[in-house]
């Protein structure tokens, strides 16, 4: 392999490695923060749940972007559409289910 190609290959490797390291670091932060908050017990339950929820969702996005490599590029378009489609179905199913069952619980308990 020519020195030029070797160099760009090494660069590409470092770029990819940086991606995984970034993902790991972000995920670690997004994990440590809610854990410490709950351990310390400083927030009210409602506030804590909101923080946990938002940070959890953010971490899922981090996983999808840095570990599953699904971004807005053309090559990843199919996976993106699939995740959006599955995600919307999941939201309809879960939100619908929770609405129904909590409504039933409220009326029957």
């Amino acid at each position: 392999m020519s020195p030029l190609k070797q160099q760009s290959k090494a660069e590409a490797y470092r770029h990819d490695l940086r991606g995984y390291q970034m993902g790991f670091a972000l995920a670690a932060i997004l994990t440590i923060v809610p854990f410490t908050l709950v351990a310390a017990g400083t927030l009210s339950t409602m506030a804590a749940l909101w923080v946990i929820g938002v940070l959890g969702l953010l971490q899922i996005f981090v996983h999808v972007r840095f570990f599953l490599h699904v971004d807005l590029s053309q090559e990843k378009r199919e996976e993106l559409y699939l995740m959006i489609f599955s995600g919307s179905l999941l939201i309809v199913m879960i939100a619908g289910m929770l609405w129904i069952l909590f409504n039933l619980y409220a009326r029957m308990m």
Partner: protein, 700 residues
Amino acid sequence: MSQAMWSAVFGRLNLGSLDFLKGILYPSMNDMILSGAAWLVIVGAVVTLALLTRYRLWGPLWSKWLVSVDHKRIGVMYIAVALVMLLRGTIEGVLMKVQQADGLHGGFLSANHFGQLFSTHGTIMIFFMAMPFLTGLINIVVPLQIGARDVRFPMLNSFSLGLTVAGAMLVMISLVFGEFSTGGWTGYPPYTEASFQPGAGPDYWIWSLALTGLGSTLTGINFVVTILKERAPGMTLMRMPLFTWNAFCTSVLMVFAMPPLTVATMMLAADRYLGFHFFTNALGGNMMNYANLFWLFGHPEVYILILPAFGVFAEVISTFSGKRLYGYHTLVIATMAIGFLSFGVWLHHFFTMGQEANVNAVFGIATMLIGIPTGIKIYDWMATMYLGRIRFSVPMVYSLAFMVLFVIGGLTGIILANPPVDFEVHNTLFLVAHFHNMLIPGTLFGMLAGYTYWFPKVFGFRLNDRWGYAAAFCWIVGFILAFMPLYPLGLMGMTRRTVSYTNPAYQPWLVVAGLGGLIVTLALASMVMQILVSVRDREKTRDIGGDPWNARTLEWATPSPVPAYNFPVIPHIHALDPFAVAKEAGFGYQEPVSYSDIHLPGDTWVGIITAVFGTALGFGLVWYMWWLAILSLAVLAVTLVARGLLGDRHSVTISAAEVRRQYQAWLEEVRTVTPVTRALEWDPRNHGVAANEYFQEAAE
């Protein structure tokens, strides 16, 4: 043998589980029917095995069919399972009709027997008749319509078939050993919990569904990838035939709708086997969650059942009107809309469960919205027929009956979508009439139309028309008589799933319904006759040219029956309805510029091993024969891992010279066939080549 040793080997099987003894021990009409069914299964199995041995068919059965990964063979096997289960499911339905016609003073069936009947009837018709039928049609047709050589994952295809066969075997075995569930095809707890039905019944139901459900999920994945990745060059998504579009949406639904069923049934299994409390009465179970989870599956499931039928009708109506399909783009969008919306309406199956009116209203409105894209489809098909030159072939007769009868059923669906109205008619015969009105003129007629339409492509000869019309007539009249009376009965308040009743006002209607059931039996008999006569007369109706109906889509541009590799050369596609366009320009039977070697996947034992050991696994789990369950699971795991590590060791290569030889021999044969005009479509002179006269397009 001590009790402990007996349970270790035979689980909870005992003499009382042997159904074929019941009629001898308790000679009542009810028990004689129960035993009779058991004997039918035993004798049927023995006779089948004997015939196979007598006519030395084991060899070809094994090498040509059971180990095949060819999508066309797998499709035929799916349809064979479906037709056999149609026989059993219909007989069960007719038996229930006769019981209810006689039910004013009790009838002749016990309540328990009736409970098993409506449970097996629903389970069989949905999971082991309709699903295999549509899966079979999709298997045969879609790769041909998109110009592919096979599905993307042929071995997985065989595995899925094995799983469905295993589920079907389990349901058949339940006639011989023990009882089936009396909890309906929906299996609602707590009635299906161990505290109310500790026996084998609900377990048969759970495991047969688990097996076939996994098969359907994998089939869905197989077809989504096939349709997205295996299309011939030039076949863009918007040049795919409508049957393929409907198959695509069906497959997406399979991937996303089967998981809720898995969750619901596995939770029920955990309750029954491990003492969990997902749905129990005591200790914090929530049985309302079951209805929610089941119908999250159940509603998209009914769209899985209907969309392929819509696809068949689109093809059939366009072909037998001699016209391009009207409103292709709208039809595609309508199909996708139906698919997506089908996930948002599931609560309409339990409006009466107790949630507040606002919740009901939202889902009621969503349900009514689905009527819109469906209506659009009906209008588009009518517009396709308008100013076309219509031929009343058997598939067309089914399509016309569908258009009238399905719309009636759809309208009753809109009635049911209104929560206050549903409170009156929920779980009455009105509901039963509605869903049979959708499933029979919709799904069943679609499957039978597709069966008749594509039969010559698969087997190389046409089905007998006379018996085809007889069957269609009997199905149509039989359905109308059997189910239309159920609407007024439901409005009068007769509940569903009742073995007997005391209100004499119901009886006249039920007698008419019983008569309808008997006519449906005649329809079945006609179908059997049709196969026998068609096989006997197959030389007279041979399809040599591959195009008996002067159709428009790519699958008709092949010999009949289709060779294993489908196309000698993968075609380049330049238009929608490519075959019709080519024929009009005089290029119906083209000669490839050059040939190349064709590589096909090899045979596999995975499917047959799955069928055998999947059945054994289910049986072991039902009867608590843990050694059998573990052994079967181990065999299945080893088979799949071995296949993974060893790969496909028997792949086949067909040389370019051989492909050329076969194809040119076919073209030679085609040259000897006289093309026929539309008027001679039913004539024995139709050997599959369409005359130029056909191509006068009517005003669009």
